[in-house]
Symmetry: C2
């Protein structure tokens, strides 16, 4: 979901990008018009997250999933042990971990798999092996609806975080991270690309066998334009960043997000009919997961909500149930509409 004013702007200037007589998707990634777009995206993003000056912002091909390979290929050689630590907190965390295992020694320091990923496990700082090249977490687990409210203490081991489904939704101190990366399709823009924000001293340690376009140092040197980039995605990202700044920035949207989540969880907690999936202290503010009393009612809920224009409420195939994704672009009114529907559905079926 993208903010409506952003969508309208894309449509309105689609045939003629700001008087150029050509569409944005027709202009070259080497043109001065596109340089302005990517510079503007950078400037806005850095301001939105108050990025320290020793970090680079990269636009990488292939979404977060491609970074599951790029992260180990870029970072494992940082230390002689070529070891990394992963927290297993959901499906994507697992896929990231499995991909990393192809490139080095991976320690799964904590896991919540045995309780169906319904919580975020505690990481004992004393147990973090300081010989590891990095420590990887998934900030918000889209499928299960958990998030790290407190990030783990990793000592001198760089913390790497997949923030795909929560980037720009909450205030985060970037200086505490070595790398933050995110597929752009949740809170930023269209699909197929990832942002990677990396501390400069972590650049330049990649494995010899790394494909050139996966090498963060190469992409940093070339301002992400080593080859033809996904110009459309970066253009939309800049518009979304602009919109977010207009909303008051990350601080302001976090307040709205917290309120949206509070209302929805309150509705769940106050009902004997709906059962929230996640332990109270690990709940996501982006993805709210719950179940109805049985599968038949879950299915009926998805079908009837769809008819009301409440789309995509079906839980991920690996977990079932209901998942309400309330990303930045979802207004408070959208959540209110969902809550009204839930109350009505409970009245009829409860």
């Amino acid at each position: 979901m993208l903010p409506t004013p952003v969508m309208e702007r894309i449509r309105d200037e689609f045939m003629d990008y700001r008087g150029l007589g050509a569409s944005l998707i027709e202009i070259s990634h080497r043109s001065k018009e596109f340089d302005q777009i990517i510079d503007r995206a950078d400037e806005l993003f850095k301001r939105l997250v108050k990025l320290p000056s020793n970090y680079k912002v990269l636009y990488m091909h292939g979404g977060a999933r491609m970074q599951f390979s790029s992260i180990p290929m870029n970072l494992l050689p940082l230390k002689p042990a070529r070891k990394a630590i992963y927290a297993k907190t959901g499906e994507f965390a697992k896929i990231a971990l499995q991909e990393a295992e192809r490139y080095g020694q991976i320690e799964t320091i904590v896991s919540s798999e045995d309780t169906g990923f319904d919580r975020i496990p505690y990481v004992d700082p004393a147990k973090v092996d300081q010989n590891a090249s990095y420590f990887h977490i998934t900030g918000n687990n889209t499928i299960y609806g958990t998030r790290w409210h407190q990030f783990p203490q990793t000592g001198n081991v760089p913390l790497v975080c997949d923030m795909t489904s929560e980037i720009l939704s909450r205030v985060v101190d970037y200086s505490k991270f070595g790398v933050i990366y995110a597929g752009m399709q949740k809170n930023i823009g269209p699909s197929g690309m990832a942002m990677v924000i990396i501390r400069e001293d972590l650049l330049g340690h990649a494995m010899e066998s790394i494909p050139t376009l996966l090498d963060f140092a190469v992409m940093a040197k070339d301002h992400s334009l080593t080859n033809t980039t996904n110009t459309f995605a970066i253009y939309v990202a800049a518009l979304v960043f602009e919109w977010l700044e207009g909303q008051g920035g990350v601080e302001a949207i976090e307040k709205v997000n917290n309120e949206k989540a509070r209302l929805l969880y309150e509705a769940l907690d106050n009902s004997p009919f709906y059962k929230p999936y996640v332990h109270r202290e690990h709940r996501s503010i982006m993805n709210v997961t719950f179940n109805l009393p049985n599968e038949t009612l879950n299915d009926k809920f998805v079908k009837e909500s769809g008819k009301e224009g409440l789309y995509a409420l079906k839980g991920h195939r690996s977990v079932g149930g209901i998942r309400a994704s309330i990303y930045n672009a979802m207004p408070l009114a959208g959540v209110q509409k969902l809550i009204d529907f839930m109350k009505e559905f409970e009245r009829k079926n409860g």
Copy 2:
């Protein structure tokens, strides 16, 4: 450049994709709506190129440049020698070759570098080492304006061709190739993604260290949806394929392309003022390169043509001069307009 009717369609259904109440760029790559789009793209593409049934069509992340890594990582292990043969016919051919050298033994069988890449060198079939895993060529050299009018005879060595700047512009017998790949931004759609068309027996031989999303076998198994794809690019591609079919298909557009190129080269050959860059028998029908009597006039030509709405005529920074790109979406009238401008410019400055 994209065909105007395609652009208008994208704009018109941008806010509400076919009555769904959401934009195409908001729908999930796992939705039935997107399944229909990618199936339709496949069906149209296969019909347009008369693809034999033992080939797979893949939509890969990162453009043609990412495939410069994927090709050797997928194909070098096909034979024990882990050797590949490359023809060096331009800048992109060189970059492809250099990337491949990182993964195995690469033989540069022919090169036209010493004559400034102004021709396509002859490949003696007797000299093609049959122990090589594949033979790589760049079908059309965008920067220099050359193309392989006849493809080389490689015996049992699979021929791999980067067709980025000529895919769907000419009738090609796909059964003669092991792999054809193309960045989508020239004749297909927006930037950031590549199509890979691969013979099925070449799947499943990848190096162990290959990033999962670069593995053609994985992507083939998952119908290119191993992860969130660039949905917008595939959507636009399907519309372009539909448009092309409406134009009469590849046979018909090739006739138009030949005529566009014929008119333009004729104007160059009939003038003492303009000097075409490429030997007559190796000329591209997509990129027409030429020079004016001196650099000052080259610059003046680029500037003044820009004012007339004839954009992007500046030659690539590595070769200079003038380059007219006349891809599928450029109508005959556009070429005629350019020729008129050229005649007028010669009258004033010749």
